[in-house]
Amino acid sequence: MAKHETPLLDQLESGPWPSFVSDLKQEAESRAKNEKGIEYQIPVDVCEDLLGVLELSFKHGRTHWKHGGIVGVFGYGGGVIGRYCDQPQMFPGVAHFHTMRVNQPAGKFYTTEYLRNICDLWDLRGSGITNMHGSTGDIILLGTTTPQLEEIFFELTHTYNQDLGGSGSNLRTPSDCVGQARCEWACYDTQAICHDLTVEYQDELHRPAFPYKFKFKFDGCPNCCVASIARADISFVGTWRDDIKIDQEAVAAYVGGELPSNGGSHAGRDWGPFDIQKEVIDLCPTECMWLEDGKLMIDNRECTRCMHCINVMPRALRIGDDRGCSMLVGAKAPILDGAQMGSLLVPFIKVEEPYDEIKEVIESIWDYWMEEGKNRERLGELMKRQGFQKLLEMTNIKAVPQHVQEPRHNPYIFWKEDEVEGGFQRDVNEFRKHHQR
């Protein structure tokens, strides 16, 4: 018999999809049975009380959580998010229900031993409820009490060599795609730079001094598997400067049907024979491909790296050899005020250790945003408020055609005095010699 009646939550289990309610009930049962004989350090019935408070919120149509707090681990301004229930007498198990964010390994590579250790620690000192992973990429441990925070932090750092992630007005935990570890399209080693910048910017990650959150995300290629372009304040999207490599024999094999298109991923039903004209050439957004005597030709100068042709015919087309990344800035995906895509700031930069050039761009952006950004203003909002030109000036980057979103978008060009020969002063008498009043 459950501790609280939860008819509204039970209804959620009736749908065809997996339900978090069933998961919570399962965890509640497992904690109650305690077959492993764990000495639980927080209330055993935390999951029951969590279900109870959620049911009450559904009934009342309002939340019973208090948001935020002073809790944290010593010296860190992020990584712990205070949560308190405003009905502690009714639900003592969740009177404290703090969240901890754990910095996920680059590329999210785990061993089962690692996962087991994290889960055992969380069963002992937390609610046992996790979120793998939060939208920023961290491992989210949901629900513990204040006295457990330092204990968990000690175990994580000393026993498991792990660290907390970012929260609050901090650099958030950098995240990346699986990169060159598994993917032939990765134009740079995403895991190497993700790890390097995480270590380099520890202070920014743990001690909040930014106007608001700040996110880095690393995508190895323009397929953008971590969607950096849509949600990172600075996104690093892999690209190449030279030509797409074409294996004409493999092109012929795709056309002849010997090789399945899209790596065979649409094999679930018969779509008919592969039609290169219809499925590749006609879909090229810049129309830069054509067939000549049965050979596939690409005008690489027009290619915008949409990746479609490479995705459809991975054996025939490969990314170029002169590889690096593009840096885009100002993306955000908030609930309020609307989402914004990244704007291209650096069209191409080499990604090579020790990443000095990249760090220079990052730090100039931070200097600008920390000084000019209003409280709770994301970089993308600051850019909109002050203009892209100002960002170029502050980062010392010269305007290039790639910065232009569309021609004739803004007919007003504002010159600065030092950009104009002779400044804004002129000799009126000299002018009158050629122009009557």
Binding site: H67, G69, I70, G75, G168
Partner: protein, 78 residues
Amino acid sequence: MDYEEAKEKIVAGLTKKKSKSKFYFNDLAKILDLKPRVAKKLINQMVTEEVLEYWSSGSTSLYGLKGAGKQAHAEHED
């Protein structure tokens, strides 16, 4: 500016403001009249020495004098 001077300024500046007990980082940098990067080092030290404490909503971080405001009591953390 040395640390002791900065600490005095911050404590005086924050004690003066009666209506609020939590402040943005920028407010503190303004009190010190320093660039954010420089102010950060001093403010961090004040947190380490427990003159200041962090408050976080999860999305935004604020700073306050240690123990100031209702928060600690309301959360049974004092």
